[in-house]
Subunit: 127 residues, 2 copies
DNA sequence: TCGACATATGAACAACTGTTCATGTATAGA
DNA sequence: TCTATACATGAACAGTTGTTCATATGTCGA
């Protein structure tokens, strides 16, 4: 504990770093969600942060599709599509259903639509 | 043009890849937004896909803060915070205001709150 | 049982990302 | 003008990510 007992900073957490508005920082700190939630939220949005996955989600928003349809639609290899579908499945955004040799994927969750809509709204805001 | 005039596939775009439901694929293809929008959307969500940036956004959602406050609050170097703030600024999610030596950052956009709320809703859904 | 087909998956590799470190810029006060 | 402070930024580096390639799994029909 290198105590730089100079100006502010009583006895707590923020002591290594200079800080200008200690009161405000303390209040904001109390209001912060726990790190687990913040981490999970970042992991969740990371899934939307790739254009292949976004295109898959848009496509499935129109219709249930099998892997080779998606592969043809997006002009990408079957392997690449499968890998991305696994990520989407782990994030509980899509579900799959096997029918013979074919596996059909569809959206699992209404939030996908909401999220995409908020995203578009932001992007369409001018300037 | 390697024409595999075998089963389906008339004369168009999807011809290199096997495809099971040509009609559906064609419909979905027509309904897809242009690649530019899809790319921008992925770029936009990529910004939310890092826990440092998510924490900064949560903090600024509580109060306007300067760089060194954020640095203290999140226990991270001033440099790291500055780099991330630049990314958030480029995404038009935060704005800055200088007052003497100090630069204050605040949320620029109401969509941030919406997006965070939809994300939490998804994460809190059980199972 | 065997081959054809739809899909899944592990390894490898290039491209990208976030942090640190060093340094530069801007402002206030002495 | 000189120093201290708050912030910005470029280079470097380690860790991560998305694709390809090769191969494995599962299902159907002959």
């Amino acid at each position: 504990m290198t105590s730089t007992s100079d100006t502010s900073c009583e006895q707590d957490i923020f002591c290594d770093v200079p800080m200008i508005h200690e009161g405000t920082v303390r209040e904001v700190f109390e209001a912060m969600p726990d790190d687990g939630l913040l981490f999970d939220m970042a992991e969740f949005f990371k899934v939307f942060g790739d254009s292949t996955r976004v295109r898959i989600l848009f496509a499935l928003h129109q219709s249930e599709l099998c892997v080779c349809d998606l592969s043809a639609l997006l002009s990408m290899s079957q392997s690449a599509i499968s890998h991305q579908l696994r990520i989407l499945k782990n994030a509980r955004l899509v579900s799959s259903r096997r029918e013979g040799k074919v596996v059909y994927y569809s959206l699992l969750d209404d939030h996908v639509k909401d999220i995409i809509e908020v995203g578009t709204a932001h992007l369409l805001e001018k300037k």
